[in-house]
Symmetry: C2
Subunit: 221 residues, 2 copies
């Protein structure tokens, strides 16, 4: 098994979780599942010494993260130049109410990916990446939607970041009050939160596709 | 009216939305409402030339954003030194399915705040900021939860970032297919998504507080 196929990510000085290390997870499967469930990534890069964090749709295409946008985008232009990037995704699972203000928390699953982006320029690989992005939004959608034309392909910049340096951080479970607070007459517990589909708003008269009737952000097994 | 009380944020070269400028919004009320509804901020900073993006709980305390954490945190230590920071929050409102793959999109409301953090060291102001963080999680909660002890206050670093340079970007509405695609036999429309509370998981036998029965991430008017 090569390093790139390892089932765990290496704990590098940059990705090792330092605070609350018990919440850290370096399993490749765990990192992949969080990336697959999250619809939005927060992409961080530096321009003129200033950090910028921009929300973007991402998708995982095998061992790579892919992003896309306009070739005119300042962000994509900066990233295409091979600068260091940080891509973070966070799934919010609930609020955690402790008896003490100090022990209030959130339940969450997050992933931090560090690396360098490169442009995908080969048309066939670009189409694969764009398919991965559409499938990430709604699994099955590429069977229906009209695929990119040559002009649309030219008008789309696609970047890939190898999943080589990444870690997850996860909090689950109830509040952790100090022993001396546990008899305080204050409600304590978790309020789970979940990103839930509401009624679709059709822009056509066609029947709703199956993949929207069953829509879930939890990736299928 | 002073500049800090203006109802709009200035369009600076760093916060002016360049791509899809029609989605930009610089209204202070709009920016505040998005910050107040989002539970998680993605905080970007640079260390040794590498951008890092870390999810954190934030709150708005008047015209400032506040963050908190352990004084031992690498991130807070870096930010306390007065380095440039970018705080981005994103509310995902739905997926937008167009007839063409190219016009797929997400509906969202995001805010980007640029600035410099400074540590809040005055104990009274620190308590106000920590109250704002607890109220941000659940409005009304500070009436019930035990407030921070002197030791807990010492064990908490609180940072503030003035809301001086910020912009929002918002997409709403149906897909925007090209005219020649509008008769394709492909379902098109929006699937709204909403962060929904599920059944609470109590860690005690007390009755559920009102503010959890009515829990909503949409800020009260």
């Amino acid at each position: 098994m090569s390093a790139s196929e390892s089932t765990v990510f290496p704990r590098t000085p940059r990705t090792r979780v330092r605070r609350r290390g018990g919440r850290a997870n370096y399993e490749r499967d765990v990192v992949h599942a969080i990336l697959d469930e999250a619809l939005v990534a927060h992409v961080g890069f530096v321009a003129d010494g200033q950090p910028y964090v921009i929300p973007m749709l991402h998708a995982r295409a095998g061992g790579e993260l892919v992003l896309h946008g306009s070739p005119l985008s300042r962000m994509l232009g900066t990233l295409r130049d091979g600068v260091p990037v940080c891509v973070t995704v966070t799934l919010l699972d609930g609020v955690v109410l402790a008896r003490s203000a100090f022990h209030h928390s959130l339940n969450y699953r997050s992933v931090v990916v560090l690396g360098t982006a490169r442009a995908i320029t080969d048309d066939a690989r670009k189409r694969e990446a764009l398919d991965a992005l559409v499938e990430h939004v709604a699994r099955g959608r590429t069977r229906d939607a009209r695929g990119p034309s040559a002009a649309e392909l030219d008008a789309t910049e696609v970047l890939a970041i190898p999943l080589a340096e990444a870690s997850a951080k996860i909090r689950t479970g109830p509040p952790q009050d100090a022993a001396e607070d546990r008899d305080l007459p204050v409600w304590a517990g978790e309020l789970p939160l979940h990103l839930t589909p509401l009624a679709p708003r059709p822009a056509c008269d066609l029947p709703l596709p199956d993949y929207l009737e069953e829509y879930s952000r939890v990736p299928a097994e």
